[in-house]
C-alpha cells in the first residue's frame, strides 16, 4: 500500500457506541448499518485497490434525516463520507474507519418532470440512465452519459462532474444542471439555482459540481433535459496508425464540425473487444475511430459525406456508415464493452483519465509506449478523442508480486506526461484518493492553499470527506493565518497525515 489515509482518531473510535445510539434514536432501524459483515459491503467504491471498513453506514430516507446526521457529526466531531452508487473510479467515496458512511441510495425518486421548462427535479440517488428513461417517451433525454450510467447516481455525477461520450457536444454534468439543494456540515440547507437558467452572485452550484463530496451533501438536483435529435448516425473508421486516426479527429473539428460522439480505440483494445464479444470491428486497423453525427436528417446526411471525405483524406483503411439504428448501436457496443473486455486480457487493469490538448495525441502515445516498456507492462488505449480525454488502461496481474506497484508507477508517469504537454490529471473521474498525491504536478502550494480555503468556507472543521483531493491536510485556522510567499509554505515539512 503506497496510499496513506489519515490515521483513525482513537478519540472517535472510543465514542462509537454513543454515536450508534444517537444515530439509532434519529433514524429508522434499517437505516443504521452497524454489524461488520453488512458494513463490509461498503468497504470500497469502484476504485477497488484500497478498502476500509466504515465506522458505521447510514442510509437516510429524508432530507430532515440528512440534516440531523450532519448536525450530529458536527456536534460529535465525527467525519462523514458521502456515497451515491459507489461507482467512483478514483476512490471519492472510499470509507474512513473513523467516519460515518452516508449512503444516499434511498433518495431514489424523480420528484417532478417539467417539459415546459425542459427540466426535471430528482433525488440524488436516482440512476443517471433512469432520468433519460423517464423522459424518453416524450422525446427527451439527459445528456451526460458516463459509461457507468446504468449504475451511477445523479448525486455522484454532481460530486464528480461526470462526463461521458456525448460531452464534447453537450457538455459535462456542470453544463446540464440548473439547481441543487445542499446540506452543509452542521445541517444547514442551501438552495442553489432552480428552474431559471442563470445564477446570481457566486456560482456555488458550479463550485459544488465536481467538488468530490468535500463541500456538502446534495439532496436534490434540477437537471436540464434535451430534446432527442431526430437522427443519429455512426461512422466506423479504421486507420493504419493511431497518428492517422488522431489526424482525422483533428481534421473533423478543424472543419467546424462538433460531432455528438468522437471516440478512438487502439489495436490492443479492439482485439480485446472482438475477443470479448465480436461486433464487426476491422481486424487490420491499428486505430478505430467512431464518429456519431446527430441532428436533423438533412444536416446529418450532409455531414456524413463531409466526414467520409475527411476520413478518406486522412488515410482511413475502413469506412462504414450506419444504415440503421441497430447498426449504429452495434458500432457503439464494442466501445461500451471496452473496459470489461480489457479486464479479460489483463487480468487486472488500472484506468487512467488524463486530458491533453488533442494535437499532442501522437506525441503522448509514443511517450506512453516508451513508458510502458520501461515498466515492463502493456497499455490498452481508449480515448474520448474529440476532447482529448485519454483512458489508458494499464494491464497488470495482481497475483504477480510487485505488479501493482509497477502499474501505479506507470500510471504516475503517464499522468505526468499529460500535464507536461499542457494537459491535466483527470478529465472526468476525479482526483479522489487515486490522484491526490499528484496534485502538486499541476498546482503549486499557493494554488492548493486557495482551494483548501474554499473548503474551509464550507467545512471549517474539515470533517466532510477528509483525505481526498488534497495531498496534505491542514486545519482551517492554520490556513487563515498562513501567508504563502513565492510558493514557499511556512511549514514545508509538515507530515502528510
Amino acid at each position: 500500500m503506497t496510499l496513506l489515509m489519515p490515521a483513525p482518531e482513537p478519540e472517535i473510535l472510543s465514542r462509537r457506541d454513543e454515536l450508534l445510539a444517537r444515530l439509532r434514536a434519529m433514524l429508522p432501524a434499517q437505516s443504521v448499518i452497524a454489524d461488520e459483515t453488512a458494513r463490509r459491503a461498503y468497504d470500497c467504491d469502484a476504485f477497488t485497490m484500497y478498502r476500509a471498513l466504515p465506522l458505521v453506514v447510514v442510509l437516510p430516507e429524508t432530507v430532515a434525516q440528512v440534516r440531523a446526521i450532519m448536525a450530529l457529526a458536527q456536534e460529535m466531531n465525527v467525519k462523514i463520507v458521502p456515497r451515491g452508487a459507489g461507482t467512483s473510479l478514483s476512490g471519492g467515496s472510499m470509507p474512513l474507519e473513523d467516519g460515518i458512511l452516508l449512503g444516499m441510495s434511498k433518495f431514489n425518486r424523480i420528484l417532478e418532470i417539467d417539459y415546459e421548462n425542459r427540466c426535471a427535479r430528482v433525488q440524488p440517488g436516482v440512476q443517471n440512465l433512469a432520468i433519460s428513461r423517464a423522459v424518453e417517451a416524450e422525446g427527451f433525454y439527459y445528456a451526460p452519459d458516463p459509461s457507468s450510467q446504468i449504475a451511477c447516481s445523479i448525486g455522484g455525477n454532481v460530486a464528480e462532474n461526470a462526463g461521458g461520450v456525448h460531452c464534447l457536444k453537450y457538455g459535462l454534468t456542470t453544463n446540464n444542471i440548473l439547481g441543487l439543494e445542499v446540506v452543509l456540515m452542521g445541517g444547514e440547507i442551501v438552495r442553489l439555482g432552480g428552474k431559471h437558467l442563470d445564477g446570481e452572485l457566486y456560482d456555488l452550484m458550479g463550485l459544488m459540481t465536481g467538488s468530490e463530496g468535500l463541500l456538502g451533501v446534495v439532496t436534490e438536483v434540477t437537471v436540464r433535459i434535451l430534446r432527442k435529435p431526430p437522427v443519429a448516425r455512426g461512422l466506423l473508421l479504421g486507420f493504419a496508425s493511431v497518428e492517422a486516426g488522431a489526424r482525422c479527429v483533428g481534421a473533423i473539428i478543424a472543419r467546424g464540425i462538433i460531432p455528438g460522439g468522437l471516440e478512438m480505440m487502439d489495436r490492443a483494445t479492439v482485439d480485446a473487444v472482438e475477443r470479448f464479444q465480436p461486433c464487426g470491428y476491422p481486424s487490420d486497423a491499428a486505430a478505430l475511430v467512431i464518429v456519431e453525427l446527430d441532428g436533423t436528417a438533412a444536416e446529418v446526411d450532409s455531414l456524413v459525406g463531409v466526414v467520409e471525405q475527411i476520413a478518406f483524406a486522412s488515410g482511413a483503411t475502413t469506412t462504414k456508415v450506419s444504415t440503421s439504428e441497430a447498426e449504429r448501436l452495434q458500432f457503439w457496443a464494442g466501445r461500451k464493452n471496452a473496459f470489461p473486455a480489457v479486464s479479460c486480457i489483463g487480468p487486472d487493469y488500472l484506468c487512467m483519465d488524463g486530458t491533453i490538448p488533442r494535437g499532442k495525441l501522437p506525441e503522448v502515445l509514443i511517450g506512453m509506449e516508451a513508458l510502458a516498456k520501461k515498466h515492463g507492462l502493456r497499455v490498452a488505449n481508449v480515448f474520448h478523442a474529440g476532447d482529448g480525454n485519454l483512458h489508458p488502461l494499464i494491464l497488470y496481474d495482481a497475483s504477480i508480486d510487485g505488479d501493482i506497484a509497477r502499474a501505479e508507477a506507470l500510471g504516475v508517469d503517464i499522468l505526468r506526461l499529460c500535464v507536461a504537454v499542457g494537459g491535466v490529471l483527470t478529465g472526468e473521474h476525479g482526483v479522489g484518493v487515486e490522484k491526490r498525491d499528484l496534485m502538486g504536478e499541476m498546482f503549486n502550494e499557493v494554488d492548493l492553499a486557495q482551494q483548501m480555503r474554499v473548503k474551509c468556507a464550507f467545512d471549517p472543521a474539515g470533517r466532510l470527506n477528509p483525505g481526498k483531493v488534497f495531498p496534505t491536510l491542514r486545519r482551517c485556522a492554520e490556513m487563515g493565518m498562513m501567508h504563502v510567499v513565492a510558493g514557499a509554505m511556512p511549514f514545508p515539512d509538515l507530515p502528510r497525515f
Binding site: 417539459y115 452572485l201 456555488l204 478543424a254 436533423t296 490538448p357 494535437g359 476532447d387 499541476m442 474551509c456
Partner: protein, 400 residues
Amino acid sequence: MTRLAPRDEAELAEAIRAANADDRPLTLTGFGSKTRLGRPATGEELSLAALEGVTLYEPEELVLSARAGTPLAKIEALLEAHDQHLAFEPMDYGPLLGLGSGEGSIGGLVAVGGGGPRRVKAGALRDHLLGFRCVTGRGEIVKSGGRVMKNVTGYDLSKLVAGSYGTLAALTEVTFKALPRPETEQTLLLTGLGEEAGAAALRQASGSPYEPSGLALLPELAAPLLLAVNAAAIRLEGPTISVARRLDDLRALLAERGGAFETLAQAESAALWRALRDAAPVAGQPGQAWRVSVAPSDGYALVAALREAEAPLLAHFYDWAGGLVWLCFEPAPEAHAALLRTAVGRLGGHATLIRASAEVRAAVDVFQPQARALAALTRRVKESFDPAHILERGRLRAEF
C-alpha cells in the same frame, strides 16, 4: 483619486499586498465600461489595462487565452478571422449604460458573467471559461483549471470567478473555449399573438427538435423591430441546408397557433439578435432597467403580476423562451425593488438592478437578497479569497 496601473502580474500582486497592509480598498477596472454595474464600490482604482494580449490561440484545439486587459473587440475580431466565436454571445452593456459600444475587456466580461440569447443552446460564460490566473484579495498569484475541454482536477474555481464582479480576485489571464461559428442563421418571426400565447409558442419551439438558438418575445413597438404587433422571434443556426429545413418544420409546428410568419435572412437576423443581446428594447427607454431570471414558463406571469400591481413599466421584453425578462420602470428612489422582488420571490429566481443612478444603486439591493444560510456561506467564500475585503468593497452588498 489616484490610479494604480501595474504592468504585470507580479506588480499587481505587490499592489494588492500593499493595499492589504494598510487596509486600502481597491476597485478594479479595464477600460471602465462596467463601473456603473452593481453597487458603487469604494476604493482606489486599480487598472488592469496594461495586462494585455492574446497569449494562446489554437483554433484547431478550440482554445484561446488572453490577459485580462485585452479588449474583447480584439478577441472577437481574431476569432472571427478563423470562423470561430465565443458561443455564449457576450452582451455589450455599453448601449444600455449610455456608453460606447465594444469598449470592454475580456477580464471585465468574466467579472460580470452572464450570457446572451444563445444561452438556451450554448450555455453562459461560466460554461465556456476553462481556466484562469489571478491575484486573490490576499495578494497571492493563483491559477485554476486549464486549457483542455474536460478537466475535473481540483475545485472548479472558474465557475466562482465568473460573475463575481472582481470581489474575489483580480483576474490576470483567462482561457476560453472557442467554437466554430455557425455557417448561417435565419429567424422565424411569429407576429400578432398575445404575449402569453407568444411566450407559449417560444416554449413549444424550445422543446422541439429544431435546435433554436434564440427565443425572444418583443412586445409591440419594441426596438429594434418597432412592429405594431407582438413578435415571437426564433433563431435557427447551422449549415444552410439544415437551417432551411428546420425553418420549414418549425413553421409547420407553430402554424396552428395562428398569427403571421415572417422570415429574417442572415444579415437582418444577425442585426436583430445583436440588438436583443444588448437589451435594445429597454436600452433606448429612459428609466431604471432590471434583468430578471425566472423559469421560462414564469416570465409572462411576472409581467402580468407587475401590471396587476400597476407598476410603472415603460418597456420590457423576454429572452430565453421567457426565462430572462428585461424591464424598464419609471425612475423612483427605491427603483420599485420591493414590488418587483415580491413578484419574483413568489415565482423563484432573481432580479438584478442593472441601470440606475449611483445613489439608487447604493440605496437599493442591486442583487437579490439571499436566505440567511446562503448569505453567510457567500460571505465566507468571499473571505476565503479576500479576508480583509480589499477588492470591490461594497460592490455586491453594502456589508461587503
